[in-house]
Symmetry: C2
Subunit: 147 residues, 2 copies
DNA sequence: CTTCCTGCAAAAGTTTTGCATTAAC
DNA sequence: GTTAATGCAAAACTTTTGCAGGAAG
């Protein structure tokens, strides 16, 4: 188990930035959430956080490679820990309410994907390729509320 | 080869809407683009288009199932023809300039994906699941301009 | 002639920024 | 003490909406 906070602090310091209490709190929140959080969710989760500071801190953490921004179609950007901190995974997105949930794929499928996608990207002249695979559907709750 | 305009007109009419010249132009543009276009790209591609009308028409076309909105992380939403009009495909996204390009996967991989993802989604209580797989990397142009 | 579409301007919603103050090193 | 982070308010940017005039059926 790696020490997320130690890594975060180190990566920020390399950029001349500080690992303040608020940044630590954000990292803790995102790690324990187990799913990407939108700004309103972050603000609601911890009272006293100020909108502009959260945006600035998430941007700083993203630049340092501690968190990454993921984009859904519910208007808000969402943030989650960087992949090398919590491992490669995918998202199950509800097309109705926008809720996102982390899921894993079988290792064999991941390997097949990686091999195939690398080849395709290479043919198109793309470098440093990663993939982003989301399952989009309707969650049980929204399916209940009819169409 | 299906007649995209006939399908578009039919789907709009079912909702009591009209297939106007502007909507036809938008559909033509998106079909021939071969990649999802952002609003600035649409406006630039054809002079005389008005921003609010384009947003409204794309929303109408989306509701009718003629086009779909895809989301990248360059700030703008992008639109492309609905999957049943141009076929299932994926996107190669440049993480630097935001450019998007359509790509296909081998049929065997698509089938494996579908089977596996259906099972995963079912376990999580999700219904009507489709997948969205993007390759994210750096395009040749951006790679040229150094890091 | 009724219903929908268009265009302008204004509003809404998310994210960014300027600036003065406070905290970290 | 110097540099960076914070909070407030204001701005920027994408998208949506109200309303009056015009086009389609």
């Amino acid at each position: 188990m790696i020490d997320v906070h130690a890594v975060a602090e180190d990566r920020l310091r390399r950029l001349g930035q500080r690992y303040t209490a608020q940044r630590r709190a954000l990292v803790s929140m995102l790690v324990s959430a187990g799913q990407p959080l939108s700004l309103p969710e972050v603000l609601q989760a911890e009272a006293g956080l100020k909108q502009s500071s959260v945006y600035r801190n998430l941007a700083a953490l993203e630049q340092a490679g501690v968190v990454q921004r993921v984009v859904t179609d519910d208007g808000y950007g969402r943030y989650e820990p960087a992949e090398d901190l919590t491992g490669h995974h995918h998202h199950l997105v509800c097309s109705r309410c926008g809720k996102v949930r982390d899921v894993d794929l079988p290792g064999s499928l991941e390997r097949t994907l990686d091999r195939t996608l690398d080849a395709i990207a290479g043919r198109a002249g793309f470098a440093q390729v990663s993939h982003r695979l989301d399952l989009v559907g309707m969650c049980a709750l929204c399916a209940g509320r009819a169409q």
